[in-house]
């Protein structure tokens, strides 16, 4: 039957290769599995039916078996029709021969390749559990084939999966088989591990079994030979027993083994926790370790040790039991079944570990005697096992407080807290940032850090540092720092400054440190001040230096000091939008003080662009030594000239003022604020007109007037001028004139005016008309030409 199935499986495989698709429930693997199953059945039947000792009968009934026509026919029956066997003796011999032949067949080696091909098929079709089941069957076959180490290896591979899926009965079956294999091969580590797991609470073995296994473990640790397992074959048992005896008789102890407890469910469970989530550095750290045993009989351990992340504390976590292993004296290492044993460890942390997390790296429990053979049961991370409660439902259970009385809480609910934080000692220092805010943009702002020692004892090694806290959003937006710290005016700036070290500070003593900050734009700034010092403290009778640190953040408001507006006017102080090339214009700078502090202006300067220059040779600031309070305004005018040739948008330049707070005095240097002047459109005018006239006139005195007309165009221009009369003056000069101006040359018109009335009188208006650009010129020139003049009156004499 099995051969049939195997052949069908091969055919199926071929068909798949040829293109037939198979699904998970119908593929060659099943057929291989069936083949294997039938082979196993055959083997079992053979075992049952054929007696072990058999020899080939004297006569050879099967001599002609190959010559039969049909498969399975028996040669001695040939030629008879009836159902009854002709000769009982021959029948018996024939059957004996067949049985003998059957015994010769090595069944296991038929089954194993079938199983491996079945496994391959199932793997291909993604049935992991079926695959595992087949691996278990293969393990069993290896066991029957007496290849115990291979069986052990195979079974070991699948146990973790069954364990994590919590199929306890299957797991127990596998573990029992593994135990037998381990015993027969004398694999010490495997034997101990499997025994430990079989004694655990999830293994479904009866109590007597567990007791027996525990007894065997005991015997091992006392260098004796354990009893053989049930269900093993006799000769294998003899071999195994011989192996165990040679080792123990040889006198050399077996090397201690380490059992990883986190991956198995054992008979002893360990839970370690810190009694609090965080400890102060001066209080001792307490660790509670609980061991709970599910073994049927009491068991004693030789040593319990706890390993921490910082190895220096390992020495505090060791409990050694000096009694002999089977001494029923109760002590701290004697675990009764169902009982929890608690150990508490306490120690002081070192200064280096302050502000760190301290965690339990692992727990080691030693079974057996330390001098002889022993097994170290190792847990990592404070306990737990293969099923570290993956239930989401665990969150519904109430959490047990860490410092509660653990002896009344049931084992399953206990928390396991294996990491704790050592928090540093609270600093008892008064740190303040004194400032007279708000600060102004670009000024050197004075801050004072004042430290007062409010501790009882004297502190030493006081270190202060100031730094700017940048918010994350700021860091992305501004690539360059916008705040600069200065320790002193002359020193370069930095983002973090450290004050000089103070050797000691007596209680209630105060010290002040000065720093400057300069901010480039407005807003709020966060300053972080850190003060660290050392203070001797008493930790359980021992004096040691403890590092403390106090950190405060303080915010500084920064606001703009001035609101500077710039506008352009023409020479008559009227606002203009456009500027004429070559014509002078005025730029009006209005500085409005926004700072709440009175500000003293040192001076102002204009940095002009290429195409613009000062109309005068030197231009002084009109704002020197001006002091402004809040909401005061300072205005200054500068006369500028655009010197380009082509019409364009010209950039005038930038305007900067130097200032400082009045109250700071000369200690703080001046800060400067710069504003850029607007760009203005410059247009060329074809004709520029300058008027040369005195500032005022006298009655009955001649007032000379000179008009200079300059031709800005590269062409010859025809000009027409007309001088209008005015009531206030008598005029002598050209009333109407036609003339020509050559390119880039000028024409001078002279007039003499004779004022008739005193006062602010209207000047006679000159109308200029260029033939080519008629009508345009008037408007342009009207802003340039002065329209009024002041005429001084006579001296008043009292006439008689």
């Amino acid at each position: 039957m099995s051969k049939q199935f195997a052949v069908f499986g091969d055919l199926f495989e071929e068909a798949i290769r040829a293109g037939l698709t198979a699904i998970q429930t119908q593929h060659p693997g099943f057929y291989y599995q069936e083949a294997a199953r039938y082979a196993i059945a055959r083997k079992q039947l053979c075992r049952g039916l054929c007696p072990a000792e058999l020899k080939y009968p004297a006569s050879d009934p099967l001599a002609e078996a190959d010559k039969m026509e049909y498969y399975g026919q028996r040669p001695w029956r040939q030629g008879h029709q009836s159902l009854e066997a002709p000769s009982v003796q021959k029948e018996r011999e024939g059957i004996q021969a067949l049985q003998y032949r059957e015994c010769q067949v090595d069944h296991s080696w038929l089954v194993i390749p079938l199983l491996s091909s079945a496994i391959a098929q199932f793997k291909k079709y993604k049935s992991p559990r079926m695959k595992r089941y087949l691996v278990v069957q293969m393990g069993e076959e290896y066991y029957h084939a007496k290849d115990y180490s291979k069986a052990l290896a195979l079974l070991g591979r699948v146990t973790w999966e069954y364990r994590s899926e919590r199929w306890w009965s299957i797991l127990t079956n596998i573990l029992q088989l593994s135990l037998r294999c381990a015993y027969l091969v004398m694999s010490f580590e495997e034997y101990v591990t499997v025994s430990i797991e079989l004694m655990g609470r999830y293994a479904q073995v009866p109590r007597e079994e567990k007791i027996r296994i525990q007894m065997n473990l005991h015997k091992i640790f006392q260098d004796e030979v354990p009893e053989p397992e049930h269900g093993c074959e006799h000769d294998s048992v003899e071999k195994g027993r011989a192996l165990w005896t040679t080792i123990s008789a040889g006198g050399k102890s077996r090397s201690p083994i380490v059992v990883e407890m986190n991956s198995i469910t054992a008979f002893v469970e360990c839970k370690a926790c810190f009694t609090a989530d965080s400890f102060l550095c001066e209080s001792p750290v307490t660790v509670k370790l609980g061991l709970h045993s599910f073994a049927p009989m009491p068991i004693r351990f030789s040593q319990l040790s706890v390993r921490f992340s910082n190895e220096a504390y390992n020495q505090f976590g060791i409990v050694v039991d000096e009694n002999a292993v089977d001494d029923p004296i109760e002590s701290t290492s004697y675990l009764k079944p169902g009982q929890t044993l608690w150990h508490t460890f306490q120690f002081i942390v070192e200064q280096d570990d302050v502000d760190c997390n301290l965690s339990i790296a692992g727990v080691d429990l030693v079974l057996g005697s330390l001098e002889g053979c022993c097994a170290t049961l190792r847990w990592t991370d404070g306990g737990g096992d293969a099923i570290v409660h993956p239930f989401a439902t665990q969150v519904h259970r109430k959490k047990v407080a860490l410092n509660a009385d653990f002896s009344v809480v049931s084992w399953d609910v206990l928390p396991s807290n294996y990491s704790t934080h050592i928090s540093p000692r609270e600093a008892n220092l008064d740190v303040q940032l004194l400032q007279k805010g708000p600060a102004l943009v670009n000024e050197f702002y004075l801050m004072t850090v004042s430290i007062t020692n409010t501790e009882v004892a004297q502190i030493s090694n006081v270190r202060t540092s100031i730094s700017v806290v940048t918010a994350v959003a700021d860091a992305v937006a501004t690539a360059q720092p916008n705040t600069f710290l200065y320790e002193d005016i002359d020193l370069p700036c930095s983002q973090l400054i450290s004050m000089p070290l103070l050797e000691e500070l007596k209680p209630n003593q105060k010290v002040d440190n000065v720093a400057y900050v300069r901010c480039v734009d407005s807003g709020a700034r966060l300053m972080c001040i850190q003060v660290s010092y050392q203070i001797p403290i008493d930790i359980s009778g021992k004096m040691s230096m403890c590092n403390c640190m106090k950190e405060i953040t303080s915010s500084i408001e920064v606001c703009e000091p001035f609101n500077i507006t710039v506008s352009l006017t023409n020479m008559k102080f009227e606002k203009i939008e456009k500027v004429q090339l070559g014509e002078a214009f005025l730029s009006r700078m209005e500085v409005k003080c926004l700072s709440p502090w009175p500000v003293a202006l040192q001076g102002s300067s204009l940095n002009l662009a290429k195409l613009v220059k000062f109309a005068d040779e030197e231009s002084l600031s009109q704002l020197t030594d001006v002091s402004l309070k809040q909401n005061d305004c300072a205005v200054e005018f500068r006369c500028l000239l655009s010197s380009g040739q082509t019409p364009s948008e010209i950039d005038i330049g930038s305007y900067s003022i130097e200032w400082r707070r009045v109250q700071n005095g000369a200690a703080v240097p001046f800060a400067s604020t710069t504003v850029s002047l607007p760009t203005v459109e410059a247009e060329p005018i074809p004709l520029s007109l300058h008027v040369d006239m005195p500032a005022y006139g006298h009655m009955k005195a001649v007032l000379p007037l000179t008009y200079l007309l300059h031709n800005q165009t590269p062409f010859v221009q025809d000009m027409e001028i007309a001088m209008e009369s005015s009531e206030a003056f008598m005029l002598s000069g050209h009333k109407q004139l036609f003339f020509r101006i050559l390119p880039d040359s000028q024409h001078i018109l002279r007039y003499n005016l004779f004022p008739l009335f005193p006062g602010y009188v209207t000047l006679p208006r000159l109308r200029v008309n260029m033939v080519r650009y008629s009508g345009v010129l008037d408007q342009l020139l009207s802003s340039v030409v002065p329209t009024h003049i002041f005429i001084k009156p006579f001296e008043k004499k009292v006439s008689a």
């Binding site: 998970q24 993604k126 079926m130 899926e165 199929w167 299957i170």
Partner: protein, 125 residues
């Protein structure tokens, strides 16, 4: 009559397995365990479509080894598995469905029990 009944939790471990007493219990454990493979595949392929109520009943998982295995998944991923002998041909699909419905009702009753915490092994008299 069903030969074996099993209730499997969401994390694929058995909440309750019961077989007829004279049978080889271990073998049934293995059968149920391996049929979980098929169920998993069905769940994952169905979850791509919209979850239809009718899909709760997975039907005949696979006929192997003289047994038929039927599966049923609830919306909270609790799986019910029934194993029936192949020789018992008189059992029809409807009867299987009604068996599953009764199982589901019994399970919901148990979950409503305030003394039952989710994830515990089911112990039944």
């Amino acid at each position: 009559m069903a030969v074996c009944v099993a209730v499997i939790a969401k994390e694929n471990y058995p909440l309750y397995i019961k077989t007829l007493p004279n049978e080889n219990e271990l073998k049934f454990h293995y059968t149920v365990h391996t049929s979980l493979d098929v169920i998993e595949e069905r769940i994952h392929s169905v979850s791509k479509n919209t979850n239809d109520l009718r899909e709760l009943y997975l039907g005949l998982l696979y006929p192997t080894e003289d047994y038929k295995v039927y599966g049923y998944v609830t919306n909270s991923r609790i799986k019910f598995i029934i194993v029936i002998e192949s020789t018992n041909a008189t059992i029809r699909d409807n009867e299987i469905r009604s068996m599953f419905r009764k199982l589901h009702n019994a399970y919901t009753d148990m979950v409503c029990n305030p003394f039952y915490t989710n994830g515990d092994i089911i112990e039944s008299t």
